[in-house]
Symmetry: C2
Amino acid sequence: MSGSGAEPSGDQDTPGPREALLARAIGWFAEHGVGDTSLRTLAAGLGTSHRMVIYHFGSREGLLSAVVEAVERGERAALEEVLAAHSDPFEAGRAFWDHVADRAQVFAPLFFELSGLAIQGAPFAGSLRHWLATGWVDDLARAYQLSGVEPERAVRLARLSLGAARGVLLELAATGDRAAADAAMAELTDLVRNGTTPRRDR
Amino acid sequence: MSGSGAEPSGDQDTPGPREALLARAIGWFAEHGVGDTSLRTLAAGLGTSHRMVIYHFGSREGLLSAVVEAVERGERAALEEVLAAHSDPFEAGRAFWDHVADRAQVFAPLFFELSGLAIQGAPFAGSLRHWLATGWVDDLARAYQLSGVEPERAVRLARLSLGAARGVLLELAATGDRAAADAAMAELTDLVRNGTTPRRDR
DNA sequence: GTCTATAACTCGATAGAC
DNA sequence: GTCTATCGAGTTATAGAC
């Protein structure tokens, strides 16, 4: 599909101009936001013409859709990597929070703006709507269950942890105060750890 | 300031056409979002002409700024009311969560879209940026302190609680599942209550 | 305080040459 | 695959009658 038989030189590092353009577009959106971005200003910032964006993505919404999908896939991959590297869910949670917080200044504005549009029903953000609602909760709940929490409570804790992470991320993006955000998340970890282990001592 | 000496008939219930227009604009934004709203479609939905919106608010951004400010003032007033009515901070927190969750389907999309724009530096959202960062945390931390939590931990708990509420609100807006959101917030309340009282029993 | 008319501009998308 | 030229619709904002 959409393949022209004349690829320049069989390069494996460059998956094609479309992907390169998409990657640059993500960086541009993360820096400048989505709301007031026209195809023309975007293309100028990307070093192309707006005609090329339409050529590769069909329309402005097609580009936005591709951006949302690509960012989601990246974060999901990061989560799986982190879950595979840590057996303790609290350790995994902290590691993933680190990953997210590192990129907060860049991606949080994009995430929350797109989330606002997604829950308003913007058609290009359908997949984001799904991940906001159930996608991440299921995986997190499974991780809690593996560490011995009963199923129903695991779901509640998953929802709470995910919500807290997103909310603290919003505040981190507003303040830039990484230490305060880390402390708030550490407080959550402590509360959950002490609240789920029976605490035999004392 | 901006007062014309000829108010129609000294009505106290109608504070003027500007305020009435603002109130209707808030409702309209809550229902239709901000992103793709032009002055013309907005004015048509409000029953005026776009010329009138500009007359009263100066520009489209002026209107957005007024909307943000009015919504904030309303929520702050609701919080103060709730804090005054409950001495137990957990009770107050639950009551305020109820208030917010009741209005989630309507106001959460507006809140998150505007927050995304605010942390991107949109000029009309300056006051929202302030409330996102510090405004609410201070009051919440004070409430925690009053119930016996040491100051530094009170701030951490305030940040966590606020973040969790915002994050769970985002999920509530995406799913519409009020029971699940309530359960997640109740889980937080339990964790904090058990984590801050020494737990002499057992 | 409310209207119509319109200026001045930008938008997404298309056509077609190269 | 990249370019220029351009269409038609929609944008904020202004002018001025009533």
